[in-house]
């Protein structure tokens, strides 16, 4: 019965959070719009290309994309269309932004979700392993790994991975998200796709494995000194059960937080990794759009990212409640 009430409360809480998120998202749109509009650089220059276009031509292009209007006018128009579910028209790609993003979203999510799962799994296992024998060689190794993970930038690691596994060893493809010379179908296509994912996922997940490892280790070490762990051991429970059931569950809260937190950063990291590996996802689209000053696309992607971050935060909070019975909403 109490569980029923808890679920209902949780549902109401989630709904309330979602409603509260609306003004936040609107604020994000306005701030992004103003930041991009105020940044130096004229999208018309990028659109026209590198030759002396006559002024009347430049003005025609400017008017064609509504860029001759004032910033408040454009902002109002943009907000109006976003409310109607229209993210505008990409002037560099001459396509609706929504179509453009939708084509690529799946590929980026594939990369990101695999990264989150891998980073969490490896990070927790390594962290637990290190925490079990603090100051041992294993612990030293895990700590060193974490330090390396913190300090190595994704784009550099990506290039090194390409050099080692694609150029020197020739085991894995150097880039792209599937083979281009040969066309595969069925299981072969899945395998081909998987091979193309290995290096980008490794490059993207290394840092988050490291963060999760460190945090799991620290959090678990703290918990393992608590009285109830001593009590559990005194009751004669196996060390394995003490660690995984009593220890890790209590240590999970900060780990859940960091997974949610990682998620937002992985979005940013994917822009770099997608560029290094020629992975045709949203991150690459964002990178290209910055250079072409393709405002509608940039705004659309930033909107998507902010909604994702808000949703992930909500899911994180709900996960808290599930992991820790003391948390009530």
């Amino acid at each position: 019965m109490s569980a029923g009430r808890g679920t209902k409360a949780l549902g109401a809480y989630a709904l309330e959070r979602l409603v509260n998120a609306v003004p936040l998202v609107l604020g994000v749109i306005v701030v992004n719009f103003l930041l991009i509009s105020l940044a130096p650089g004229d999208p018309v220059t990028a659109l026209i290309g590198e030759f002396p276009a006559p002024p009347e031509y430049v003005e025609r292009v400017r008017a064609q994309y509504g860029l001759d209007q004032s910033v408040p006018e454009r902002l109002a128009r943009y907000l109006g269309s976003v409310v109607r579910g229209d993210l505008g028209f990409s002037f560099a790609n001459r396509q609706p932004v929504l179509d453009l993003v939708a084509q690529r979203l799946g590929r980026t999510l594939l990369l990101m979700l695999t990264t989150v799962v891998l980073a969490t799994f490896v990070g927790v296992v390594l962290g637990v392993w290190a925490a079990r024998r603090p100051n041992s060689a294993v612990d030293g190794g895990a700590t060193g790994f974490a330090l390396a993970g913190y300090s190595i930038p994704e784009f550099w690691l990506g290039q090194i991975l390409i050099l080692v596994f694609a150029v020197w060893l020739g085991w894995l493809p150097a880039g792209g998200f599937r083979s281009i010379r040969a066309e595969y179908v069925g299981l072969d296509a899945v395998w081909d796709q998987a091979r193309h994912m290995i290096l980008p996922v490794l490059a993207l997940s290394f840092r988050y494995m490291a963060i999760t490892t460190r945090l799991t280790r620290a959090s678990l070490l703290e918990v393992m000194n608590a009285d109830y762990i001593l009590a559990a051991r005194a009751r004669g429970l196996s060390e394995r059960r003490v660690l995984w059931e009593h220890g890790l569950r209590a240590a999970a809260l900060p780990i859940i937080t960091v997974i949610g937190y990682n998620f937002s950063f992985i979005v940013a990291g994917s822009a770099l990794v997608e560029t290094v590996f020629g992975w045709p996802g949203v991150g690459r689209l964002m990178y290209d759009s910055i250079f072409t000053r393709d405002y509608p696309v940039l705004l659309g992607i930033l909107l998507l990212v902010s909604i994702t971050v808000i949703l992930v935060n909500l899911v994180t909070d709900i996960a808290y409640a599930l992991a820790d019975p003391r948390v009530r909403y």
Partner: protein, 516 residues
């Protein structure tokens, strides 16, 4: 007993020699993968001047003419053409050709594309169109272009990069910017469209009814590899077959050259000039002696060797040395302005310039510019000038330079095959704020007049005289500092033959074939 052995040896030698003597014959079939550095925004080459769109467009579309390996215009859709004695009327006779959807290409398609699509939307075609009085189609196979004044580069601006021909029946009555055919194009070129996966690749296949010799490759795939180091790697591991100089990181060339599976080519195709704009709004730089001092102070040789990896030739004049008729040995900049810091210091002292600090603005995405900036900073320090180097993003660079908020700025302009198309704009007087023109504030009516006259002269000797005069003036005024002519490069899989058959590397891929 030895005889059989000798006979065997002789037979083998004969067979071997015979095999060597056989000339390779192009064989059809196979797929080649060409690298693009960025995704084309769409596939309508008539409404954009972008490099990747032009690349795919060169295989998809055809135009009235093409430029052969030496830059000489030859007929493509045009079987032949005549020019009236006053150089004002060009009459083209069309070949019988068909679009990829089976409809014939007629003069109506040519007139429609030029008037309705190219003129309002293709900036480089506008260069030609501003000199055009009318474009008419007296019959299905004839196109007549009438000019307002003689304009020598006209023919060069009718290639597939400036004037690809679209099917009128697909575009008529629609907005060419949003026509669905921009995503699934219909041209009359040697390859037809198969599939485009945005951000990944564009796939084309041989068009069997091409009006000239059919392409040899079955398939041509343009693959997008956004990161420059990854392009060389794609070649090395066999995931790509061709990388053009435009997309090639110069630092990787030596490594690729050492690879037996990769053929590296270096040479001059379409001349491209690297130079430094000097803003004469700065009172110190308004003095020609100071600009001359900069020429003496900058070690252009070192810039070519170190910043450009040797892929350049120190510029011999204001239009480089890529066009024999636009270069005069009498005023060669390499002789007039050798690297001479002592002479630079004298000139600066003469001009009464003491401690001078100059801002140097450049596009941060251009690696060679960054290296050149460091060399110039070092060079100028030795003559008492402090260079404040400011790398900025390209669109910001455009605003700063053409808004004349800079002192020195490195730039590279392509000639597009004729100095009148690509280089005159560096020296013609120009309004502040217009982009990709003369940003120095230098305005010399005599130079304007001579350059405009040169653009109208079809006769190369007469043109050469005009250029020699301009060169003599510019050699004294040095409104910009020409640094070097760029050498183009290409790296390709060694078994891919028949490349580099046209003036532009992107053109003529129908001649490419795979050696087995």
């Amino acid at each position: 007993m030895r005889t059989p052995l000798v006979l065997l040896a002789l037979t083998l030698a004969w067979l071997f020699g015979h095999a060597l003597a056989q000339v390779e014959t192009p064989t059809p079939g196979g797929t080649a993968i060409v690298v693009l550095g960025s995704d084309p925004e769409h596939l309508n080459a008539a409404i954009s001047t972008g490099y990747p769109i032009g690349a795919v467009g060169a295989s998809l579309y055809s135009a009235l003419v093409y430029l052969d390996r030496d830059g000489v215009p030859r007929g493509e859709l045009a079987e032949s053409w005549t020019v009236s004695d006053d150089d004002l009327v060009y009459t083209f006779t069309l070949r019988s050709a068909t679009f990829h959807d089976g409809t014939p290409v007629t003069s109506a398609d040519v007139v429609f594309t030029m008037e309705e699509v190219l003129a309002p939307n293709h900036g480089r075609f506008l260069n030609a169109y501003r000199n055009i009085e009318s474009i008419t189609a007296p019959d299905d196979a004839t196109v007549v272009i009438e000019l307002t004044q003689p304009y020598a580069p006209l023919i060069n601006l009718l290639t597939v990069f400036e004037a690809p021909i679209l099917p009128k029946h697909v575009f008529e009555g629609t907005d060419p910017l949003t026509n669905p055919a921009n995503e699934a194009p219909i041209g009359s070129g040697p390859f037809r469209f198969v599939e485009w996966v945005r951000g990944e690749r564009v796939t084309l296949e041989r068009f069997e009814d091409y009006f000239l010799d059919n392409a040899l490759l079955d398939r041509l795939i343009y693959r997008v590899v956004p990161q420059d180091a990854a392009r060389s790697v794609a070649l090395e591991v066999g995931e790509a077959d061709v990388v053009w100089g435009f997309y090639m990181p110069p630092a990787d060339l030596d490594r690729l050259d050492a690879n037996p599976n990769i053929e590296v080519w270096k040479g001059l195709t379409i001349p491209s000039l690297y130079f430094v704009f000097v803003n004469t709004d700065n009172p110190a730089l308004a003095d020609a002696r100071v600009r001359q001092a900069l020429m003496f102070a900058i070690d252009r040789e070192q810039i070519v060797e170190q910043a450009q990896g040797g892929l350049g030739e120190v510029a011999g004049g204001p239009f480089g040395a890529g066009f024999a008729y636009a270069y005069d040995e009498a005023t060669d900049y390499r002789t007039l302005y050798p690297y001479d810091p002592e002479r630079a210091r004298e000139l600066l002292a003469e001009a009464g310039v003491g401690d001078l600090t100059l801002t140097f603005v450049y596009d941060s995405a251009r690696g060679a510019f960054a290296a050149a900036a460091e060399i110039m900073r070092d060079n100028l320090r030795q003559v008492g000038i402090t260079l404040n180097v400011q790398p900025v993003e390209r669109s910001v660079m455009v605003e700063r330079v053409y808004g004349r908020d800079y002192d020195l700025s490195m730039q590279s302009f392509t000639s597009s095959g004729d100095p009148a198309i690509g280089y005159h704009r560096i020296y013609l007087s120009a309004e502040r704020g217009a982009n990709f023109v003369n940003a120095t504030g230098y305005a010399n009516p005599e130079v304007d007049e001579l350059l405009n006259a040169a653009a109208g002269l079809a006769d190369r000797d007469a043109r050469a005289d005009a250029y020699a005069e301009v060169m003599a003036i510019l050699a004294q005024d040095v409104p910009t500092l020409p640094i070097f002519d760029e050498l183009s490069t290409q790296a390709a899989a060694a078994n891919l033959r028949g490349l580099l058959v046209r003036f532009d590397q992107r053109d003529g891929l129908e001649f490419a074939w795979l050696a087995r």
